[in-house]
C-alpha cells in the first residue's frame, strides 16, 4: 500500500518574470511539502520569493509569469490546469489571506456578504439564511465581537485587527484543507499581531486546517509553525523543524537572521545590533553560485561558493541546508555571531 500523498508537494518550482534586462528569477527551484494539519512557516526578506511562491500555489500569478516545476495537491498536479478547475479549488480546498486587509475588502459590500461570498461561489445550493448563520459562526470563530450585528457593517467600520480576522473568516468559510497566509500580521501592531496569531492557532486546533505561514517575522514563525522554510533570493536555503532551526541554524543566512534579533534576555549592552552586511541581491543579475556568497562570512572563494549553486545537504532529522560550508556554520551560535566573538 502506498502512503497517501502529502497535502501539498511543491517540487523544483521556478517562477521567472520577463523584464527588459532579462528574466527576473523570483523563485528558483523551491521544493517543500506540507502534510495535512501541519503549520509550515516560510520566512525570508522582501523579494525572497515568498509571496510569489504563495501565489503560484493558487495559480494567481499574472499571465506573463513563466512557471516551471510541479505543485501537487493531494497528488494532483495544479500547474497547467485550466482556470475553471483552479477556481473550484480556490476558497474551497486552498484558501488565501493577504497582507493588506483593508484593500482586500470590497468597500461597497458588507463584511458579512463578503465572507459569505466564498460559500456562495462554491455552494450555491446553500440558502441565504444558512449562509448567514455560517458567516456569523465564522466571525465568532475569529473573535469578532457581536458577530451578528457586525456582519452587516462595512469594511471601513471595522478596525484594522478586526478586518484581518474577518479576512481569516472569509478564507475559512469552506473549511479549506490548506490556508495560505501571506504576511497576515505584517501591517498590524504587536497587540493585534498577537490576536491574529491566537486566531490562527485556534483555527489550527479547531478545524485542522494546514497553514502555510508566509512572513518575514521569525517571532511569528516560532510561535506557530512546526517546520520552517527559509528563503533567500528565490531559493530555499534551509528547512528544519522550528526548534532545530532556532537552536542550531546551519545556513549562514539563517544564522545571520537569528543573530540580528534583538534579545532582552542577554546582556549585549554597548554593542550595536548585529546586521548581515551588504544588500539583498538583484534577482535579475543574481550572484553566481550561492546567491548569499557576497554577504557570507563563511564563504570559500572562488570555489565552491561563487561557482556552484549548493544543493540541499542533510544536516539532521528533517533538517537541510543549501550550503557548501554548513559544517563550519554548525560551530557558531547566533549569540556568538551577535556579540562578535565567533
Amino acid at each position: 500500500m502506498t502512503p497517501d500523498p502529502p497535502l501539498l508537494a511543491v517540487e523544483r518550482l521556478s517562477v521567472d518574470f520577463p523584464t527588459d534586462d532579462g528574466p527576473l528569477h523570483a523563485v528558483d527551484g523551491v521544493t517543500f511539502q506540507i502534510d495535512e494539519h501541519e503549520v509550515v512557516g516560510m520566512v525570508g526578506e522582501s523579494g525572497s520569493g515568498k509571496t510569489v511562491t504563495a501565489l503560484a500555489l493558487l495559480g494567481l500569478l499574472p499571465r506573463r509569469a513563466q512557471i516551471r516545476g510541479s505543485v501537487r495537491l493531494r497528488g494532483e498536479e495544479l500547474l497547467g490546469r485550466p482556470e475553471r478547475d483552479l477556481e473550484q479549488l480556490r476558497g474551497e480546498t486552498v484558501a488565501m489571506v493577504f497582507q493588506d486587509a483593508l484593500a482586500s475588502f470590497n468597500p461597497v459590500m458588507s463584511v458579512g456578504a463578503q465572507v459569505g461570498e466564498t460559500i456562495a461561489v462554491h455552494h450555491p445550493e446553500v440558502s441565504a439564511s444558512a449562509r448567514r448563520e455560517r458567516v456569523v459562526e465564522l466571525l465568532e470563530l475569529v473573535g469578532i465581537p457581536d458577530p451578528a450585528g457586525r456582519a452587516d457593517e462595512y469594511p471601513h467600520q471595522y478596525s484594522g485587527g478586526m478586518r484581518q480576522r474577518a479576512m481569516l473568516a472569509m478564507a475559512l468559510a469552506n473549511d479549506p484543507a490548506l490556508l495560505v497566509a501571506d504576511e497576515p500580521t505584517t501591517a498590524l501592531d504587536v497587540t493585534l499581531q498577537a490576536q491574529v496569531l491566537d486566531v490562527l492557532e485556534r483555527i489550527r486546533d479547531r478545524t485542522g486546517t494546514a497553514i502555510l505561514l508566509v512572513t518575514h517575522d521569525l517571532g511569528v514563525v516560532a510561535g506557530l509553525a512546526e517546520r520552517v522554510l527559509v528563503m533567500y533570493a528565490g531559493r530555499a536555503v534551509e528547512e528544519a523543524p522550528v526548534d532545530d532551526l532556532f537552536a542550531a541554524p546551519r545556513h549562514p543566512y539563517t544564522l545571520g537572521l537569528l543573530a540580528s534579533l534583538p534579545r532582552l534576555d542577554r546582556r549585549t549592552r554597548g554593542s550595536p545590533l548585529f546586521r548581515i552586511p551588504g544588500q539583498p541581491p538583484s534577482l535579475v543579475h543574481r550572484p553566481s553560485g550561492c546567491a548569499f556568497h557576497p554577504r557570507c562570512q563563511f564563504r570559500a572563494l572562488p570555489a565552491p561558493c561563487a561557482t556552484d549553486v549548493p544543493g540541499p545537504v542533510e544536516v539532521g532529522a528533517g533538517h537541510q541546508a543549501a550550503c557548501h560550508r554548513t559544517e563550519l556554520v554548525a560551530d557558531v551560535t547566533p549569540q556568538q555571531l551577535a556579540i562578535g566573538t565567533p
Binding site: 493577504f98 461561489v121 444558512a130 462595512y154 485542522g208
Partner: protein
C-alpha cells in the same frame, strides 16, 4: 529536498471536526434573525438623507404622471386649434398661452413630454447598459478583447452622427423607437470608455485578487466587485445622457429628421418656436425650454443622490 521526516514535534491533535459539520446545513434554520440593516435598506436610508434627490424623484414622478396622463390632465386636445384666437400669451384659459394656430401650449407640452421623457430615459438606459457591458468586458479581459472592443468604440465615435441618423431615420421611419435605438447607438461609447477606465483601475485592487483567491470566476467578479465600484461614474454618465438625448432629439426634430407633425416633442416645440426669439411670442420658447431644464436638473440631482447612496462610506448608515 525533504526526505521522510520523523514525527513533527508535538502537533496538537485537531479536534475531529469533519468538513460536513463546519459547512452550513442546507435546510434553512428554524429561527432566522431579521436582517436589521440589509444592503437595500441602508441604500434607502442614505438616499433619503439626500434632500435634492428626493425632491427630484417627486418632480420627475409628477412630470411623468402629468405627461403620460395627458389624456386626463390636459385642458385641451393636442391638436385642437382655435384659429380665431391665434397666438396669445399666458392667460387663465391658456396657462402657457397658445401658438399661431391657437393650440393650447400646456396641453401640447404635456403630450410632447411623453415623447421627450421616453426618448431621454430609454436612450440613457439602453446606451448605459450597452456601454457598461462593453466597457466592463474590455477592461476586465484586456488584451485582444480590449483592443477589438475599444477600436469598435473609436469607430462609432468618429462616425458623423447626424449623417447616420438622417440615413437611418429615412430608411427605418421617423417613429420614436427608431430614434431611440439610433441615439443609443451613438451614445454608448462614452459610457464604455468611462467604465473601461474604471475597471482597469478596480481590477488591480486587492479585493479583486482576494475574490479570485476565493474561487470567484471572472463574470462573478465583474458583477459583484467591479461594477458596484463603478456605479458613481456610470450613474453620472447616465443622467447626462438623459439630458443629451432630449437635446439630440430636439436637434433632429429641428432638422426635420425627428418626430413628425402633428406629433411633437419638447425639442420639436422649441424648434417650431425658434423664430419667436425677441418677439412678444417668446413665451413659446420658455415653457418647453423650462420643461427640458427641469427634467435634466432633476435627473442630475437624482444621479448625485444615487451615487452617494451606492457608496457606504458616505455618511455612516
Amino acid at each position: 529536498m525533504r526526505p521522510p521526516t520523523p514525527a513533527p514535534p508535538a502537533v496538537p491533535e485537531p479536534e475531529p471536526v469533519g468538513p460536513s459539520e463546519l459547512l452550513p446545513s442546507v435546510e434553512p434554520p428554524t429561527a432566522v434573525e431579521a436582517q436589521p440593516g440589509s444592503a437595500g435598506q441602508l441604500f434607502w436610508r442614505r438616499l433619503r438623507r439626500h434632500r435634492l434627490a428626493l425632491i427630484s424623484i417627486v418632480v420627475l414622478a409628477l412630470l411623468a404622471i402629468a405627461c403620460f396622463g395627458a389624456g386626463l390632465f390636459a385642458p385641451y386636445g393636442r391638436d385642437e386649434q382655435n384659429l380665431a384666437l391665434g397666438a396669445v400669451g399666458p392667460s387663465w384659459q391658456h396657462w402657457f398661452g397658445t401658438d399661431e394656430l391657437g393650440r393650447d401650449q400646456l396641453s401640447r407640452l404635456l403630450y410632447a413630454g411623453q415623447i421627450s421623457l421616453e426618448i431621454g430615459l430609454a436612450v440613457a438606459l439602453l446606451s448605459t447598459l450597452v456601454g457598461t457591458v462593453i466597457g466592463a468586458v474590455a477592461g476586465y479581459l484586456g488584451r485582444a478583447t480590449d483592443q477589438t472592443l475599444m477600436r469598435l468604440t473609436d469607430l462609432f465615435l468618429v462616425v458623423p452622427a447626424v449623417a447616420v441618423l438622417a440615413i437611418a431615420l429615412k430608411k427605418f421611419g421617423h417613429d420614436r423607437f427608431t430614434i431611440i435605438w439610433v441615439l443609443a447607438a451613438l451614445f454608448w461609447m462614452y459610457v464604455a470608455r468611462v467604465v473601461r477606465a474604471q475597471v482597469l483601475s478596480i481590477k488591480e485592487q486587492d479585493y479583486v485578487e482576494a475574490a479570485r483567491a476565493s474561487g470567484a470566476s471572472g463574470a462573478w467578479i465583474i458583477v459583484r466587485h467591479v461594477l458596484p465600484n463603478c456605479v458613481g461614474p456610470i450613474v453620472v454618465n447616465a443622467t447626462l445622457s438623459v439630458a443629451a438625448a432630449i437635446v439630440a432629439e430636439s436637434t433632429l426634430s429641428f432638422l426635420g429628421f425627428g418626430i413628425q407633425i402633428p406629433a411633437t416633442s419638447w425639442g420639436r416645440m422649441l424648434a417650431d418656436a425658434e423664430g419667436t426669439v425677441g418677439t412678444s411670442q417668446s413665451y413659446l420658447l420658455y415653457f418647453p425650454g423650462l420643461a427640458i431644464l427641469l427634467t435634466v436638473l432633476a435627473v442630475n440631482f437624482l444621479g448625485d443622490g444615487l451615487r452617494d447612496a451606492f457608496d457606504p462610506q458616505r455618511g455612516d448608515a
